[in-house]
């Protein structure tokens, strides 16, 4: 496996300001490693997502921060307090569960007031806090309703309100939108983002949906097989995926194997692709001494041109054969057989240009700065 280059690792000031620190956290279940030596800083007041496929350890990580799982080794700090072995009811975090986990025997007021009552808050204050948080989640006046009277989306909001009303240090969200239909999910994404900005509480959001994570997060960490593959802003991670896994999990990527032939001192390193064509990549993206690499380009960064037209200066260019074209309305998607028979995906915005025919040899070009290396 390639070494995980941790792009956008927070600097020391960020570490100091972070709300949640995970240090070398390991969790094993009877010999099976679920979380493998995880170190992570979640900055205060940010919308942070843990993104990964199912079984990557993201929910286990969330469970350890919430206090439902105890780390096998390593420490979890909330601010400067070590909470690794503190039970959930003594931690200043609250969770929005995937199944909402609302209390069916209590009305909405009873559900939202549950946490405040445990803290022994005076009754009048509880009532006003509940009213306030119901307004925040856009369900004012719902105090006396029963849980069973609510739709899925409304239950979701109540679950959020029940957690937020306690003003926790960190709010944990475990795939909270998973049970909603697409339209409602998009709406709730925007809503969650708005609420997070309103209250300024650190949100730790766990999801396997890359689009969701990209749309909402200030920063995200991509997890795979119990490890963090990459950490950074959605833009960093998308534009410069550090590993093969990230490149393919977060959006689509074209990866072509190649050899670095020159890198010393210049702005761009030259890479000879399998099949013999040469492209340029920003030199700082090539680890010194590394020779065998894969060059990556996102499908929307590629320009598809007829070979008869002259190539634009400064662009990387390779040739290939169109083997499949799909009309998607907003764009065309082409599969082009490129160097060493690698199948490359190209998105062409639907501007009404003449479509290349199947079997036609075309040129794919892109800016060298749009190239990443894994």
């Amino acid at each position: 496996m390639l070494p995980a280059v941790r792009e956008g690792v927070p600097n020391e000031a960020e570490v100091a300001a972070a709300d949640v620190h995970l240090r070398n956290v390991v969790k094993t279940y009877g010999g099976v490693v679920a979380v493998d030596d995880l170190t992570l800083e979640i900055p205060r007041g940010e919308f942070f997502s843990l993104l990964g496929p199912s079984g990557c350890g993201k929910t286990t990580t969330l469970g350890m921060i919430g206090g439902f799982e105890t780390p096998t080794s390593g420490t979890i700090m909330l601010g400067d307090q070590d909470v690794s072995r503190v039970p959930p009811y003594k931690r200043d975090v609250n969770t929005v569960f995937q199944s909402y986990a609302l209390f069916p025997h209590l009305d909405i007021f009873g559900n939202i007031a549950f946490g405040l009552k445990r803290k022994g808050m005076p009754k009048e204050q509880i009532a006003s806090r509940v009213t306030e948080v119901l307004r925040l989640v856009d369900l004012p006046g719902y105090e006396k309703r029963k849980i069973s009277e609510l739709s899925g989306g409304q239950q979701q909001r109540i679950a959020l309100a029940r957690a937020l009303v306690n003003e926790p240090r960190v709010l944990l969200l475990d795939e909270p939108l998973g049970a909603l239909d697409l339209k409602l999910r998009k709406q709730m994404q925007a809503e969650l983002k708005r609420i997070q900005q309103d209250v300024g509480i650190t949100f730790l959001y766990v999801t396997h949906d890359q689009e969701e994570a990209m749309a909402m997060s200030d920063r995200l960490a991509v997890m795979n097989a119990g490890k963090i593959e990459q950490y950074g802003t959605p833009r960093d991670v998308y534009e410069r995926p550090a590993t093969r896994f990230v490149a393919s999990f977060l959006g689509a990527s074209n990866l072509i194997a190649g050899k670095v032939v020159s890198s010393g001192g210049a702005e761009f390193a030259e890479v000879v692709l399998a099949g013999g064509q040469t492209v340029r990549v920003p030199a700082e993206r090539v680890t010194p001494g590394q020779v065998e690499i894969s060059v990556g380009i996102r499908p929307e960064k590629l320009l598809l041109e007829p070979v008869s037209e002259p190539a634009a200066p400064g662009y990387n260019a390779i040739t290939g054969q169109v083997i499949l074209g799909t009309y998607l309305g907003v764009s065309h998607q082409y599969i082009v057989k490129g160097p060493a028979d690698t199948e490359l995906v190209v998105y062409v915005q639907n501007l009404g240009a003449t479509a290349p025919t199947l079997g036609e040899t075309v040129r794919l070009s892109w800016l060298p700065e749009h190239t990443f290396v894994v």
């Binding site: 919430g66 959930p88 009811y89 969770t95 569960f97 986990a101 025997h105 549950f114 946490g115 445990r118």
Partner: protein, 280 residues
Amino acid sequence: MSTVELPTATVPREPKQGRGPLRLGRFVLPVYTWLVILYTVIPIVLMIVYSFNQAPSGRMTFQWLGFTTQWYQHVFQIPDLTNALVNSLIVAGSSSLISAIIGTPLAIALARYRYLGRNVTEGVIFTNIAAPSVVVGASLLSLFITLNLNRGLVTIIIAHVSFCIAFVAIVVRARIVGLDRSIEKAAYDLGATPWVAFQKVLLPLIMPGIIAGMLLAFAMSIDDFIITSFVAGQTLTFPLWVYGAVKVGIPPQVFVMGTLIFLIGVVLALVNVFMQRRRA
């Protein structure tokens, strides 16, 4: 910007029942069901009907001699019988309560935790239900004799609790297994200690199960004859008294009491179902 109208899903029509070649739904199933219902209900109906029968000698006869409500007016006329019924109610009441108190934590343990001896406990519960009453009764009697316990209400209650726990545990466990585990987690998450989470969240949610378990235990206890006859000593419960009376003739009050016990059971069960529906 225009709103995108999602097409409303068309609900596929359920295929009509009983359209198969055998038309099971139309004839066979209703007839079969009604036969089973008759089979189970006839004895109870007979008991109720004969509780209104005239019986000049004060002993039950199965000839219909005319309608009367006199046995209902004089239901507590036979002191020994009344005493036996009171004993039965005390035994059934306390053993269902005690077995709920012991059986509920057992159900929680079985449903929610993995621990050494869990499978053994489970096995014991099922053998407890499967064990023949004669065996249980005889072994309990020898245990009480060994311990030098005087046979009476206490030993009957101890014996009844021992078989009622299993029923409570099974009914309550089914209720807990049906609950989303996250609900308890949510209680902890919101600052409830394990005890508070139990009191405020788990207990109210499993209460219908506990009540259903207690009703079942009550029903098992109030008509137990075999085990009771081993451990009762000189004390008589309702079934023991009735058994003793069979040889000389059963007074009609027995049918009245049987009817009343049955009706109380039905009412309680209906109330529990109704409460459960209202909560949900």
